[in-house]
């Protein structure tokens, strides 16, 4: 029998080509924008350009009169006008209030995309602008305008452990800080898109670029008033997600579905990039307040964290993001007394949603900044301070009171990363300034919970189907999606290993809600873990029927059959073997069932949401990044030269895909940390393009060195742990600490853009004397003495 821990020789940990690479590299993969059907119409959205207003009326006459327009729908045309993955606080089309830029007034279907978007611009909304609130701290004030409901604080999540007041008395140093951590756009290369195909008034198919076909199924069924079984969602090949195609795609899908329902035609909706940047969910901006203390030896005595999370105008997944943020709020450190309060706050900014790391990156950034501040106050090396406090096998209780399973590899990832990065050498003899460039090195760890939080554990299950074909090849279907991260290939690898066949014999097809059961969302670094475990379960069930047939062909007992190298063979006598092809042919000839389903669910856990104590996650992964940077203090420019990434990954399923996740996570994390700034003016993004919203290019990519700390994990199939999110989380914090090291100042606002660094340097800025000279009163102006200060 195949245990999920049993090492299986074969493709595991290897680098065989990804299942989807050849089609993608030759341009033959069909994304949703590449699909067209006879009679297909194009959809467009009429959206708000102000963030807070009363809607007095919506005039669609001009849009309806436009050439090639077939339908224009408003809120009155929506059977059930509510969307929202957890709470129904968001209308699909607005009725009386605009709460954020991008709120929809009307939907247009036309014969060409150009006509649809032109007509959408002709929809007239008469609005009375209302005061808005654009900062999560300002939003909690008593006199702040209300955004959505009776209070701007939607909910507060707590972690309470030990007595922080008592422990504070034992602290020799206390750091108090307020961090302003900015949001981020996913900037997947493929914009949001979907295609809705109605079949009469009975049922509908949605083909969508998405991470969560089951969310779309539920959203569309609810808006149209259909049973779930009448809504089929096929995941189209998806050009990047990063969380941006978890919750959000339900909205465009519901829009396209409504238009398809009303017109009887297939309807395709593809977002122009500007709208995609302007209207979709973002990483939450947060204001994080810290009061942390340590004793003389550097031992953390207490940590108090209060976070104001900018949820935007609709709560979406913000509550779940807050839950994950709480677990990571003090990092993988042992602290006896902890108080965490995270407020989910409504504002009129763009709404927050899922994004790689899901709340953990913001609080990790703050925690790792505070660790460096403590190290400075104590006169300790930042790595030494972390070693004093980091979790390990002997000290493994996190802030929720959960004792982690061993091995706890936080210390190992720290040691590996600092060793590979040459930390000690760098600290002992920091490189001299190179022209204007000054060098710095910084470190960050993360404690990451694999799979879904306790609050979402009802969704934490996964379905798979394995079909052995008559020629010995294998079809696999799973409910979790491929968005670039490599899930199809990971599933192929696991199925091939479990069946002892070459990966080329296994085809894993894109998910479709009619082929597998609801498997929850493809998020939380759970794709390979959950679908892999379900595949192993399906193979186990298939073998109940396969092994007896193979045993008969081999002349052995079913219990002696093992599958390897493309053969069924007798355990211990590999020369007694029969090709899988022959076994499959025999099963087919005897009309034995060759399809098997598999299922996996995480273990039920206990957790008290009032105190934040219990077991929020079943498994954890640790990671440590060390960044080496060069900074030009005059211009405030940061060049990230190298990132060393050590990860606790369990066992490797597919090496190229794993490394690819780390490379991509590091570069996306770097972008968030230094250049990606959502510039909002009263809730409106003023830089909705890739010239002004700056994501890293190939010229910005640092050298990345990877260290894998392997162990047998029970989280995923064949010993694997999740990697998608831990690869992202520590980078920005390590870069921040490296920049502060290089400049000798503390920067508590993310991203570290040039103006921010120049401002942080203040009087220490190399050209501060110019500013000073220019602003000095004229009478004191002595040109002869102008010059840099000694």
């Amino acid at each position: 029998m195949t245990s999920h821990l049993e090492p299986v020789p074969g493709p595991l940990g290897g680098r065989h080509p990804r299942i989807d690479a050849a089609a993608k590299v030759t341009g033959s993969t069909r994304y949703v924008a590449d699909l067209a059907l006879p009679g297909m119409l194009h959809a467009a959205l009429a959206t708000a350009t102000v963030a807070s207003a009363r809607v007095l009326g919506v005039d669609t006459a001009a849009a309806r009169a436009h050439a090639d327009v077939v339908a224009v729908l408003t809120a009155a045309d929506v059977p059930a006008n509510s969307i929202g993955v957890i709470f129904g606080d968001q209308p699909l089309l607005v009725t009386d209030r605009v709460r954020m830029v991008g709120d929809r007034f009307a939907l247009v279907a036309a014969r060409t995309a150009e006509a649809a978007w032109t007509a959408a611009r002709l929809v007239g909304a008469s609005l009375e602008e209302l005061p808005g609130v654009f900062d999560p701290v300002a939003a909690v004030a008593d006199d702040a305008p209300l955004v959505n409901g009776a209070s701007n604080v939607f909910r507060t999540f707590h972690v309470q452990r030990g007595d922080t007041a008592k422990q504070a008395k034992r602290a020799a140093v206390v750091v108090e800080a307020e961090y302003r951590v900015g949001g981020q756009d996913h900037a997947y290369l493929e914009p949001q898109g979907c295609l809705a195909i109605p079949e009469g008034r009975e049922r509908i198919t949605i083909v969508a670029s998405c991470q969560c076909p089951f969310y779309i199924q539920q959203g569309v069924a609810s808006v149209l008033g259909l049973p779930l079984a009448a809504v089929r969602v096929e995941q189209a090949p998806t050009g990047g997600g990063f969380g941006g195609k978890e919750d959000y795609p339900t909205e465009p899908a519901a829009c396209a579905a409504l238009l398809a329902w009303h017109t009887g035609h297939p309807v395709r909706l593809i977002y122009p990039r500007e709208l995609d940047l302007q209207a979709t969910t973002k990483r939450h901006a947060m204001v994080v307040r810290h009061r942390w203390g340590a004793d003389r030896a550097g031992r953390l005595r207490f940590a108090e964290v209060e976070t104001f999370m900018d949820a935007g105008a609709y709560v979406g997944l913000s509550t779940v993001v807050a839950e994950r943020a709480n677990v990571s709020a003090i990092g993988p450190y042992h602290v006896g007394a902890v108080r965490v309060a995270t407020h989910v706050v409504y504002t009129n900014n763009l709404f927050g949603g899922a994004f790689r790391g899901f709340g953990a990156p913001q609080v990790t950034w703050a925690a790792e900044a505070t660790m460096d501040k403590l190290a400075t106050r104590l006169g300790m090396d930042p790595v030494e301070l972390r070693r004093v406090n980091v979790l390990d096998d002997t000290r493994r209780t996190i802030c929720t009171g959960q004792r982690l399973r061993t091995p706890v590899l936080a210390r190992e990832v720290l040691d590996r990363a600092v060793e590979l990065a040459g930390w000690d050498g760098f600290r002992a003899a920091p490189p001299a300034a190179d022209g204007a460039w000054r060098h710095g090195m910084g470190v960050s760890l993360v404690l990451y919970g694999c799979n879904l939080h306790w609050g979402g554990q009802r969704l934490d299950r996964s379905s798979a189907v394995v079909i052995l074909q008559a020629d010995g090849s294998v079809v696999v279907r799973v409910g979790l999606t491929e968005m670039g991260q490599g899930n199809l290939t990971a599933c192929q690898t696991v199925a091939a290993a479990a069946l002892g066949v070459d990966p080329s014999q296994v085809q894993v097809w894109q998910p479709d809600t009619t082929t597998v059961a609801d498997s929850g969302p493809t998020v939380a670094s759970r794709g390979s873990l959950m679908s892999g475990r379900a595949i192993l379960d399906a193979v186990r069930r298939l073998r109940v029927r396969l092994d007896p047939v193979a045993a008969e062909l081999l002349g052995c007992r079913p219990g002696e059959v093992e599958l390897a190298g493309g053969f069924a063979r007798v355990a211990g006598s590999p020369e007694r073997a029969v090709a899988m092809q022959a076994v499959a042919k025999e099963m087919s000839a005897r009309r034995i069932e060759t399809i098997a389903t598999g299922w996996h669910r995480t273990k039920a856990r206990r957790f008290d949401p009032a105190t934040g104590q219990g077991a929020p996650y079943e498994f954890y992964a640790m990671a440590c990044h060390v960044a080496r940077v060069a900074v030009d203090p005059g211009l405030g420019i940061v060049r990230v030269e190298e990132v060393t990434a050590a990860h606790d990954v369990g066992r490797v399923l597919h090496r190229d895909a794993l490394e690819g996740q780390i490379h991509g996570g590091v570069v996306q994390g770097m972008g968030w940390g230094v250049s990606e700034e959502l510039r909002l003016d009263r809730g409106r993004l003023v830089n909705p393009n890739f010239t002004d919203y700056v994501i890293p290019t190939s010229a910005d990519a640092p050298r990345i060195t990877i260290a894998l700390v392997e162990s047998d994990s029970e989280a995923g199939p064949c010993g694997a742990k999740g990697i998608g999110e831990p690869s992202f989380i520590p980078t920005a914090a390590a870069v921040r600490n490296a920049v502060c090291d290089a400049l000798g100042v503390e920067v508590d606002t993310l991203p570290l853009t040039p103006p921010r660094l120049v401002e942080a340097l203040g009087e220490r800025h190399p050209f501060a004397w110019v500013v000073e000279a220019a602003t000095r009163p004229a009478t004191e102006h002595e040109p002869a003495t102008v010059g840099p200060r000694a």
Binding site: V25, A65, A701
Partner: protein
């Protein structure tokens, strides 16, 4: 409102232009609106959906094709201006159907493909870099017009080096 909007809503008269161009080695003729983008001609008129639209503003590079051998963002090129010129798309990089360019093969074998949406543009630019005789070390700078959000570029660089090596061996 009303009157002026209704006038704006009237479909404007569109000037159409007859053009002939070579796409992936094949001579083709089209009649296109004067404002039609090369990207739309390739995807909608020629059925070559391998060229992707990521931004429509020349910022992301997903729509990169070769125009007379030089990489251009096809969302910023008017189809009518390509009359008499040669266009190579990702579908034609390998020279003949079913054949891949060495850089395409290297992207597959070196794990340089993730979501795949930037990949056609990356493949086209990489092929131009190799054809231009550049050193693979220049790739970081020369590929900077092709945004990729998945790979961190690292394995794209390895693929470029491997392909350069292969091209050098074959010469």
């Amino acid at each position: 409102m009303g009157e002026d909007r209704r006038q704006a809503a009237r479909a404007p008269e569109v000037e159409r232009v007859r053009i002939r161009l070579t796409i992936n080695g094949e001579a083709r003729g089209f009649e296109v609106a004067a404002g039609r983008r090369l990207l739309d001609l390739l995807r909608d008129d020629a059925g070559l959906i391998g060229t992707k639209e990521g931004c429509g503003a020349g910022e992301c590079g997903a729509c990169t094709v070769l125009l007379d051998g030089k990489p251009v963002t096809s969302c910023l090129v008017l189809a009518a201006s390509c009359d008499g010129h040669a266009v190579t798309t990702v579908e034609g990089l390998g020279g003949s159907p079913g054949t891949m360019h060495p850089f395409q093969r290297a992207l597959v074998t070196h794990g340089g493909v993730q979501c795949g949406f930037c990949t056609p543009g990356v493949a086209v630019t990489g092929a131009a870099i190799l054809a231009g005789g550049h050193q693979p070390a220049e790739g970081a700078r020369l590929l900077a017009g092709n945004l990729c959000r998945c790979t961190g570029y690292e394995k794209i660089f390895s693929a470029l080096e491997a392909a350069a090596e292969e091209v050098r061996r074959d010469e």
